[in-house]
């Protein structure tokens, strides 16, 4: 991640899969890059899954997009995020079909706000989500994401 206008999302933190068996697997797969980079401990993945069970399906923030996360003390070592994109939706909660899973981790309640603001630019309009879901390569996904993030920043000034 780079604060100076370079690519914010890396190919290593993005995974494309045709499908997964259930939402638990979706969270586990989506979180792998965070585990590899030691941004989270393994127990953080269980904490995210427990959070979905405990708080219901509100982690599906907008149609088609879920943003699982847990509290810093649940095993977040640093601040970061990773994304899983699915061709076939996975069901979260009772009936919500999700194609995009964004795992969020932060070891500080404030440090992640800039990151959150950028990430929200990817899904704060339905048209953006649909455009991202149509991308065929990681490179294309990242380029489009960066465009959305850039637009959002200009919008904010």
């Amino acid at each position: 991640m780079d604060e100076n206008g370079k690519m914010y999302l890396s190919e290593e933190h993005l995974e494309f899969r045709p499908s997964v068996t259930d939402w638990q697997e979706a969270i586990t797969v989506a979180a792998q890059p965070l585990l590899t980079d030691q941004i989270i401990e393994p127990k953080y993945i269980s904490a995210m899954i427990e959070n979905v069970l405990k708080f219901g399906d509100y982690m599906v923030l907008v149609p088609k997009v879920a943003m699982p996360h847990a509290r810093p003390e649940s095993g977040a070592l640093k601040t970061g995020f990773s994304i899983l994109k699915l061709d076939e939706p996975v069901v979260f909660g009772e009936s919500q079909e999700v194609y995009l899973i964004i795992c969020l981790a932060t070891n500080d309640n404030q440090a992640h706000l800039a990151m959150l603001q950028k990430i929200s630019a990817l899904f704060d309009e339905e048209e953006k989500v649909d455009a991202l879901l149509k991308t065929a390569s990681k490179r294309e996904f990242i380029t489009l994401s960066e465009e959305f993030i850039h637009e959002e920043e200009e919008d904010d000034d």
Partner: protein, 93 residues
């Protein structure tokens, strides 16, 4: 200045997103708003002008609190539709 507290389960992700969007919407419409995030339990002890959250948390608040419901934590259009009329009303008071 309208004081708003946005509420979600653990006060980290969704409520922060919602607070950011509300602050953005208010700024764009020239209304002075200070929206901050909170988890549900901590929120119960606060006295803002308005709580904003989604239906599943809104129905857990006691009747004495002023709570506005949004359909989404992150969808700019839906949040604007749900919250802007209320902000304009509060701004007049």
């Amino acid at each position: 200045m309208i004081k708003i507290i946005t509420v979600c389960g653990n006060g980290i992700g969704s409520s922060n997103l919602l607070a950011m969007k509300i602050n953005q919407i208010a700024k764009k419409n020239g209304i002075e708003v200070d929206a901050t995030p909170s988890d549900f339990n901590a929120a119960l002890g606060e006295e803002p002008d308005l709580f904003v959250t989604v239906d599943e948390f809104a129905k857990q608040f006691p009747n004495t609190k002023k709570v506005a419901v949004v359909r989404s934590y992150a969808d700019k259009k839906k949040i604007t539709e749900d919250i802007l009329p209320l902000l304009e009303e509060l701004d007049k008071e």
